[in-house]
């Protein structure tokens, strides 16, 4: 399945670590949960405050589906 992956703010370092652009489409096996997805890219859970799948906050046990858009954020704020 194809996942549209988007790293933001300080998490852009994980894009660099995985040698992929900040915004990229990655090919993955079916049935991955968000938790196993993070593990696959070596992303420490404690660095991710918000994970969004298709614009909605997702829990770690959410199973990803073909075409999902995943956005990963550290703690951010402003106003």
């Amino acid at each position: 399945m194809e996942i549209e992956l988007r790293f933001y703010a300080t998490l852009v370092k994980y894009a660099e670590k995985n040698k992929i652009p900040q915004f990229s489409t990655v090919e993955l096996e079916e049935g991955l949960t968000l938790a196993s997805f993070l593990e696959k890219f070596g992303i420490l859970r404690e660095h991710v405050r918000i994970a969004m799948v298709n614009g909605k906050r997702a829990e770690l046990d959410q199973v990803l589906r073909d075409g999902d858009r995943v956005g990963l954020f550290p703690p951010v704020g402003g106003g």
Binding site: Y8, V12, Q22, R49, I50, K56, F73, P75, G77, G78
Partner: protein, 576 residues
Amino acid sequence: MSKIVRVNMITKGVKLEDVPDNYKGLGGRGFTSTVVATEVDPLCHPLGKENKLVVAPGLLGGTPCPNSGRTSFGAKSPLTGTIKETNVGGTLGANLADLQIVGIVVEGEAEDDKSYTLVVNKDGATLESAEELKNNLVYDAVKKLQAKYGKNVSIACIGPAGEAKMATANISVTDIDGIPTRQAGRGGLGAVMGSKGLKAIVVDDAGAPGVEIKDKKAFNNAAEVFTDVLQKAPITSETLPLYGTDILINILNEAGGLPTRNFSSGRFEMANNIGGETMRETILKRKGNPTHPCMPGCIIKCSNAYKLEDGTEVTGGFEYESIWALGANCGIGDLDTIAQLNRLCDDIGVDTIETGDTIAVAMEAGVIPFGDGKGAINLLKEVEKGSPLGKIIGSGATCLGKVYGVTRVPQVKGQGMPAYEPRAVKGTGVTFATSPMGTDHTAGYAVAVEILGCGGTADPLDPKGKADLSKTFQIVTAAVDCTGLCLFIAFGTLVDERGVPAIVAMLNAQYGLSLTGDDVTELGKKVLQTEWDFNRRAGFTKEDDRLPLFMIKEKLPPHNTVFDVPIKDIDGVHEL
């Protein structure tokens, strides 16, 4: 000894008064709103001599407490007709507090059609002629004032828009470097200042007695804990200093809550071009400063200085709301163009949020197309000139919508919406509907929980429980706005339970009180009740607490949701 400076623009009389009992213990928004509610006829014309402009530092202003130097401006708003408080960073608040001034009350209006500067220093306060500053842009006026009164004074100044009494006019305040990058933006209080013939307020704290603190040791202990809270919390210690508030562009966009092209979508395809990550990279490449404190004692440092490609330092304090308003909301995806628009707004003296909303409504009307950055710059030049079109733009989104017959105007009580789409961030939509100020994101920042996951989580698309969430945030914010603290301290206090007790301990140590956390909550409620009561007396009813119909009827992409918080929930916000 604490004093109030009372300025009569008709007689030019300036006097220092003792603080009357009913104003004792008030600071910031608590002071401005209480004075306005007590002394201003709610039915008065906001630009008439019956209105008053009130300025106040917060309760912790001028102390060693970090991030405590904000200044509140209050009056009846010419944009909304409601009571208004708008607060701002910079050095003004701390300097007033150092002089032991709890507030300035400007009354009447200059009937001689002349411009004046109010000068406040250790010897008192005087009105001086500012004829040479008439119609000066803010940056020029500030330079002349610094040449006359010294580099180290704090300045609050209006631009040509304020002098022309435009309802979007703001009041600019100088930052730690003496640059007028801080804006008391909302509600057109610059027009109130202009209506009084007051071009500027200059505050010089040289030789000031400083703030009295009853128990210095207890104060310093609590300030140390509070500092530690801010230095440990990830948002206040890492992402805000790195990227500034503009870091919000991408997360709101990802959540489908970034209002785009006059609130017609929650996603902007060029979001990343104007987001905090791109801004930081651009600033570093051009050797600008991405991390800057706007006030003394700021340890968050979310401000910045932005240079164009040719090295010109075009603007500073370049932040999320402005970048969204003049960017995504107008379909403009280029930071350099937005920076120039931001500078024009700051120089002419108009609120960036209201101006961005207004230009977007003008784009919807077909005055210029969405995405036309050059066209937007030209529209702002019309505001500077004061041409008929410029005056319409300077009157705000609601007025422009009426003039051009636009039905989709994102506003409540006549004030244009900030950078959160109510259909996708519903608790914040409740704040927009019910705040005594008209739409105001700072008045009850439910975004923290709904989008940022700071201090809890809630589904931003679910209408359930959102009125209560907004109410809680509005109460706490009203209390914080009394202290002079920057609202961003909440990103520390929401995640560290030592935060709020440290603030209460500082207030107790400074004033010799024995407040509890509950007392602070009660203070917030009292301020809100005072403000809502003023609005009721001004003729506002619960029917004014409604979002525009298009947000209830028209589905917003990408989530295709409408604003559906039940009216009975919205009306329940007033039951404190």
